[in-house]
């Protein structure tokens, strides 16, 4: 949580140039202590497009997603959502932008004191207070049907597997019908069958909802399946960005090594 950064002393700079893309990351730098994690990263994602961000562990992929949703702030550069810079927005104003975004955390980050049903209902209960209770309940059930977990609706997060937790996390991320979906390692730590199921689910959601999605992963097979465009990060920089075929045809040594080892 960006406790110090989001204090209401700064205001968003309306003059800041922002591209028209759904998500635009412009020349972003981010360091933790003396360790440079992102070094001038620029990425754009449009509506209906899926970008997979690949790279070795510790290259700043998850940090990039946290910057996009405003959980961390960049040292320099800008992050724009729907053509608006999110720099310096106070928490409640940022909340209005976050309502249009869904975030699946790497470890799902389910609320462990709430059941599966309550986890998915959580954003609805806070942002759709005008929605009748029965309608909210139907919506929760429908989301859980979509992720194939309607039979586990009253279980607690500790009673379900890691793959199921990620599905619940995905259902929760979709609860407010976001226009932008951010997925942090959706298949990490899952067996190949569960990974395939998650990939299928993401593809199905993309077909039906036409969201702009950014998927952070080190699973090349998964990235190839779900994303039309891939960006490979190394040492905080985008080494290459393009289709899977572009990566295959690249002469860059790191790209070749990454594809060979994956």
């Amino acid at each position: 949580m960006a406790m110090v950064d989001d204090i209401a002393t700064k205001q968003a700079d309306p003059e800041q140039d922002c591209p028209a893309s759904m998500v635009a990351v412009e020349n972003v730098h981010k360091s933790f202590a003396s360790h440079m994690v992102l070094n001038g990263v620029t990425l754009r994602v449009n509506q209906g497009e899926t970008l997979a961000v690949l790279g070795r562990s510790g290259t700043g992929k998850s940090v990039l997603l946290r910057l996009i949703i405003g959980l961390d702030t960049p040292d320099s550069g800008s992050v724009c959502i729907h053509g608006q810079s999110i720099a310096g927005l106070v928490l409640d104003r940022m909340g209005e932008i976050r309502k249009k975004m869904g975030f699946l955390f790497q470890q799902a980050a389910l609320y462990d004191s709430l059941s599966v049903r309550e986890n998915v209902a959580f954003p609805l209960e806070h942002h759709r207070r005008d929605m009748p209770k029965s309608e909210r309940s139907d919506r929760v059930r429908q989301l859980l049907v979509e992720v194939g977990l309607d039979g586990d609706i009253d279980k607690m997060p500790s009673d379900i597997s890691g793959g199921m937790q990620k599905r619940v996390g995905l259902a929760r991320a979709l609860a407010l019908e976001p226009e932008i979906l951010l997925l942090d390692e959706p298949t990490a730590g899952l067996d190949p069958i569960s990974s395939g199921e998650i990939d299928e689910l993401i593809l199905k959601l993309q077909r039906e909802r036409k969201m702009a999605s950014i998927v952070v992963t080190h699973d090349l097979h998964s990235a190839k399946t779900i994303a039309g465009r891939l960006a490979l990060l190394n040492e905080g920089e985008v080494v290459i960005e393009g289709t899977f075929e572009d990566l295959q045809q690249s002469d860059i040594a790191f790209v070749k090594e990454f594809l060979q080892q994956s």
């Binding site: 949580m1 406790m3 110090v4 989001d6 204090i7 209401a8 946290r66 949703i69 959980l71 928490l91 409640d92 940022m94 909340g95 209005e96 932008i97 976050r98 309502k99 975004m101 975030f103 955390f105 470890q107 980050a109 389910l110 609320y111 462990d112 959580f122 954003p123 806070h126 942002h127 207070r129 929760r172 407010l176």
Partner: protein, 283 residues
Amino acid sequence: MSDRGFTAVAETNPPIPVRQTDFVSSVVNSAADSFNGFFEWFGSLGIFSWQVLRAAVTPPYEWRELIRQLDEVGSKSFPLVAMAGGAIGVIISLEARYSLTRFGAKSMFPATLVYSVVQIMGPLLTGLVVSGRVGAGMGAELASMKVTEQIDAIEASAINPYRLLAATRILACILMLPLLTLATDASGLLTGWFAQALVEPLSFHQFITSGFSGSTFNAFLPQTFKTAVYGLIIGLIACFQGMRTRGGAAGVGRAATNSVVLASLFLILADVVMVKFILVVFP
């Protein structure tokens, strides 16, 4: 070995004063770090307090979570403070009877017990008991949520965690501490009277009438309602320590411990200030 040989060895040895300089500079650096850390902690607490205050006074209000926290802080602490109050009532009763009999002032027993319980022990005991139970619980719960990214998930869901998690807990502590103090006082007076009545007959009506005779509300209300400040301290410190936690299970343990230790310490320090303040404002 020749003299020249000794001289050569002496000249090649590293000079001792250099090591002393290193030691002194490391001590100075360490003291400077501690000094900076001390002020950084207060600075962060100030920013956190501002965030919570701003979130608390702006809608939407989290009524449901507030009610849940009122139950968590109030109802669930009630048995503990009642038992602690009961024990302190018996202790004061036994001690007071012995001392007062010795000095020939046995008739002062009801007033002594009422004064000791309601004005001195009840508020402080309630604060310390709640600090132990609620402070540790809140600190550990929020710290656990922090390290498992649940607080980030709340924020990512466009919900203000300062409003949902911190403001509700702090407000619940502020509202419940005075009520819990009344429970401690009542329990202490009841057991104190009972311990006395076992030794020599004293009706409860007589005990209360005699104990509160000559007392005004000014003598008791400020002492009871000052515990709202204790509630503020307990809630604020526990939420702050919990929500700034880093470092997995060890961090959760540290947050719980620090919540109790710091809340208890600040509570006692605040009591010193408030006692003086009350004596001046409500003479």
